[in-house]
């Protein structure tokens, strides 16, 4: 290994890198070299250790063992500053930005521009806006980050990483909350950076993206590196086999369930962020909602669920007038909502996995108000094995789980509770192929049992595959409705973007 | 031999002088004198705790200045079953004291009223006009008694002096200062203020020294070097002082005597003295104003 980098030589090299958390290994003796200027994909099941590796490379975690070489030199890489100094930047899986600061302030955080010690806020805001505009992200740099939807926040994080002029850029599931349109913008960005010679590490559960972007792909399983392959010489099936050590017949899974009686009817509903939405959901039916970020889908379902006030319109559920003023009311009437932001809306992060799973059903697990410990444990254990949730135990804090496993908890607590109408807002975000299949099977089970489903997904293939009917949202309004499989993606996209 | 002395508030100047007297007595008589007490005169439960702790340490006798008359009664009666108790400064609802050395705070309040009337008369020619009272904290027995004595004496002997403001602060000299400036603003005709303990007199004295109202006479209670300075400068018309040093000293001496089975007087009034600018240079006044503290 030469001291000066050869073009295409290793820029960053991990040697026998270990990461231990109390009790468990998240990474085991990983040897991996990233070549200068390549796009290197990283895949693996939920909890395989992908994010952990990224956090070690960015100095967020300190490795428990092994060495890291940067252009052949051993580096400590024990603080975020050390990583930033080398030009290593990352867009993390969970948005890590400051909700109380403005978009521009977040983009420049830690690297503010000053003159005579004073911040040049206007200059920074202008620059931030320029970057956002250039990337085609329609976000106002003067907004408070906390006022953006989680997808928009993800875009801010991306823009920030791109702006920092990094030499080594890591994307940890950047498309999870993005629609096809934004995904395309992101890909254009990545290709441009690639041309500028930036080394890129790309993590995703959507394997087709890897085939679209990457040159090499490494597979992690249970914290160990299984293989590194040339993308051109591998296939989805092979990658999946590497990841799960078993072969999956299909990734998309849809059981035909007959549509039954009318479950939900919404007429002219308006509320904060959306206007005049009408739709029907039948038992045994999946209604898919598609749209760009900020199109108003989440706002619509949250209003339906009683989280926000409706300003007009009416709804009937199971033939009765339906107007939930609080989520508790909606739940009592048989509605369940899996929210899009698991950290902010879904999980009690510093409480245990079991606790989170049982949160909706404590009333069932208790007698005379006292929770029966045995029933509590049994219910959590059953749900964890049912959904293959990987955690150090029921007591492990939800914060310590991998992103995909966190998502399973948020879904799991509603399966425990049960409902007539399930609303899933981006349910497969950050979920690995195997788990995705499990979730799809869960959908089928729910439908067979007579439930109806509203599915919001920014991943068009998913909505098209699973939904019976596809509704396209555009700027807070329902733009069109189609039988899901009878319409081409181009049409849907055009309607979603259409001005 | 150990004789703990339990005061009301270990953090105040006044009680430090009591402790100094007790300390000196301990040195002179060869007994060890642990110093205990609550951290605020309003902390009744804290003093009961200190008493219980003192009893638990098997002392020769205990000297205590009860924070509150009713509250300390039963605990002292209990404690007196195992050890001799000497009361100082203030009373308690018990007859279990072997001996009792006090300042009569009500009499102190009355003395303050008389001193105020005299000062007002000296300044304006007649004992008439609006006066105010500033109490440091609510719920403190000795301060309530001073206020009571002060008001009674005003009503009984000086109908011309009208109490227009009866303020209760939070124990801080800065608050005493703020209240006084506000009083002077709201009642420009005020002729007298009685600040009934040390921190209030410190604050009020400062306010008076700053704005030098022409017709105002300020009476303080207890003393420290700053108040002596105010007295000298004329910001304070008079100080009502007790003899805390003697209380502490005699408390320990009496306790030791009682423990040895000697007969001791049941009640001793250590008295209050009014000191004005004119009388402040007498030897007795100097002794009271500048107790030797070590």
């Amino acid at each position: 290994m030469g001291v000066s980098p050869m073009p295409g030589g290793p820029v960053l090299e991990l040697r026998a890198v270990d990461k231990r958390f109390t009790g468990t290994y998240a990474l085991k003796k990983v040897d991996l070299a990233f070549k200068e200027g390549e796009i290197h994909a990283l895949v693996g099941e939920n909890g395989a250790g992908k994010s952990t590796m990224i956090k070690i490379l960015t100095g967020a975690y300190v490795r428990s063992g092994g060495t890291i070489l940067w252009r052949g030199q051993e580096v400590a890489l024990d603080t975020p500053q050390a990583a930033l100094a080398l030009g290593i930047n990352a867009v993390h899986q969970e948005v890590v930005l400051c909700p109380h600061l403005r978009v521009a302030a977040n983009m420049f955080l830690g690297d503010e521009s000053t003159r005579t010690g004073l911040l040049r806020d206007r200059l920074m805001q202008r620059r931030a806006q320029t970057v956002l505009d250039e990337l085609g992200f329609r976000i106002d740099a003067g907004m408070l980050l906390g006022d953006l939807t989680i997808g928009q926040q993800q875009l801010v994080a991306t823009a920030r990483a791109a702006m920092r002029g990094a030499r080594f850029l890591i994307f940890d599931e950047p498309t999870a909350y993005l629609t096809r349109e934004e995904t395309d913008q992101l890909f254009r960005l990545i290709r441009r950076l690639h041309q500028d010679g930036v080394t890129i590490v790309y993590i995703s559960h959507r394997l087709e993206e890897i085939f679209e972007l990457a040159e090499r792909v490494s597979v992690l399983r249970d914290g160990a590196l299984v293989a590194t392959r040339l993308v051109a010489e591998t296939s989805t099936a092979e990658l999946i086999r590497d990841m799960v050590a078993r072969s999956l017949a299909e990734i998309h899974y849809k059981e035909e369930v007959p549509k039954r009686d009318l479950l939900l009817e919404v007429e002219g509903l308006s509320g904060p962020g959306f206007k005049d939405v009408s739709l029907t959901v039948h038992r045994g039916q999946v209604v898919g909602l598609y749209g760009l970020i900020g199109a108003g889908r989440s706002e619509f379902v949250q209003c339906l669920f009683g989280r926000t006030r409706r300003t007009a319109g009416k709804a009937t559920l199971k033939g009765l007038p339906f107007h939930a003023r609080t989520p508790a009311e909606a739940i009592a009437l048989g509605v369940a909502l899996v929210p899009e932001s698991r950290r902010d809306q879904g999980l009690c992060l510093n409480l245990g996995v079991g606790f989170n799973l049982n949160l909706t059903i404590f009333h069932r697990l208790s007698r005379l108000g006292i929770v029966r410990r045995a029933a509590e444990r049994a219910a959590a254990a059953e749900r964890m094995s049912d959904m293959h949730i990987v955690a150090a135990g029921q007591g492990a804090r939800a914060a310590t789980l991998s992103g995909g496993n966190q998502q399973k908890i948020v879904i799991g607590k509603w399966l425990s509770h049960g409902a007539d109408l399930y609303i899933f807002d981006e349910p497969t975000v950050g979920v690995d192929v195997g788990t995705k299949l499990e979730i799809y099977k869960i959908f089928a089970r729910l439908l067979r049992e007579g439930a109806g489903i509203i599915l919001i997904s920014s991943y068009l293939p998913e909505v098209q595959d699973l939904a019976d009917e596809l509704l396209v949202f555009n700027r807070g309004r329902l733009k069109s409705r189609h039988p899901a499989r009878a319409v081409g993606p181009e049409t849907v996209l055009k309607e979603a973007i259409g001005v | 031999e150990t004789i703990p002395v339990i005061v009301k508030d270990t953090t105040s100047q006044y009680w430090q002088v009591v402790l100094a007297g007790a300390r000196q007595a301990g040195k002179d008589l060869g007994v060890s004198v642990p110093e205990m007490g609550a951290q605020s005169e309003a902390d009744i439960a804290g003093q009961i705790t200190a008493l219980e702790n003192a009893v638990a340490s098997n002392p020769t006798a205990i000297v205590i200045a009860p924070t509150q008359f009713a509250a300390l009664g039963a605990p002292i009666t209990d404690a007196a079953q195992s050890v001799k108790i000497i009361g100082i400064d203030s009373g308690a609802d018990t007859d279990a004291f072997t001996s009792f050395l006090t300042t009569d705070n009500e009499a102190g309040g009355k003395a303050a009223a008389r001193a105020l009337a005299a000062a007002v008369k000296a300044r304006t020619g007649k004992a008439e006009g609006e006066v105010a009272l500033i109490t440091a904290l609510p719920g403190v027995g000795s301060l309530d008694q001073r206020a009571k004595g002060f008001k009674e004496e005003l009503a009984a002997s000086y109908p011309g002096l009208k109490l227009v403001a009866d303020k209760v602060a939070d124990g801080q000299p800065t608050t005493g200062l703020n209240i006084t400036t506000d009083l002077l603003t709201a009642n420009p005709n005020l002729v007298g203020i009685f600040a009934s303990n040390l921190p209030m007199a410190q604050g009020a004295g400062q306010a008076v020294a700053e704005s030098k109202p022409k017709n105002l006479s300020l009476i303080g209670f207890d003393s420290d070097p700053k108040l002596v300075q105010f007295l000298k400068d004329g910001a304070l018309a008079a100080l009502v002082v007790q003899d805390p040093y003697r209380m502490g000293y005699e408390g320990i001496r009496t306790a030791l005597a009682a423990a040895k089975g000697q007969s001791v007087p049941k009640n001793v009034d250590t008295g209050v003295t009014v000191i004005t600018g004119a009388t402040m240079d007498t030897p007795r006044a100097q002794e009271l104003l500048n107790p030797k503290i070590n």
């Binding site: 999980l347 404590f362 208790s366 | 205990m36 705790t49 009713a70 719920g139």
Partner: protein
Amino acid sequence: MSESTATGALAGRKLKFGFLLNLTLLGLLVLLWVILGFATENFATYTNITNLLRQASLWAIIAIGQTFVIITAGIDLSVGAVVGLASTVVALLLVQGWPIWAACLVTLLMGVLIGVAHGFAIVQMRLPPFITTLATLTALRGIGLLMTSGQTIAGLPSSFSAFSRESFLAVPNLFWMVLLVAAPCYLLLHHSRLGRHLFAVGSNREAARLSGVSVGRTIYLAYIVSAGLAALAGILTASRIGIGVATTGEGWELQSVASSVIGGASLFGAVGSVIGPLLGAILLTTINNGANLLNVNPFWQRIITGGLIVIIVYFDQLRRRGR
């Protein structure tokens, strides 16, 4: 909630610190007791231990209530004022000849109402708990002083005062009251549905709400428990000092928060227990008691208290972090 201990890797470090790290708060407390038992003649006597328990009782009761509030990521600064007000109210009623049980009941009810008022301000008016309870701290003291014109209320029936001085089965009645409070609180917090909801609300209010938890009701519950227990502590204080004083309990708000935090609760919510504040209160009392018995200068006593708090919480944190 609980974190498992690290294995293997940190063995070298463990060896060095091992003996300290496995100590829990209880361990540190016992250690302190043993040291005091050897260092002073009188610590380990029956009289002193009962004194200590009696002294710790009042703080322990309000600290337990405070913990309920802290678990919801709130704070109740009014507990000291509620103690003072309750002591006056119960004393006024008793002096007017009410039977003891009725006077106590009415006072407890007043505590509950104060809790309801806090709940209303925090849930319905959406005020920050800190400001709400700071305002009631100020106002309730004023009300107590007004009711009594700043005077103390004496002349309580002797059977009422006797209660706090007596013991049952060699344990002071006051400490029995702590146990009587702690047991249902333990059930409520750690074994009931409502208790689960307290933790959920403290951890992530939005997630709890979206899971069907009635966040408002849960917050009401926490403040009602806190104010109710503070009222109980006020009644017991009146019994202990034999009078009603509106200013009693001054500064107890910070003491109770300290007991709770020393006992492991986090002011950011969702972490806390019933046993923690109990131990915290006993610990703070032990420090005072020990310093008195050792005849430490009262000024040094403060310095030592401050130092000990830092040291104990530090070691407890080390253990908690599990390394």
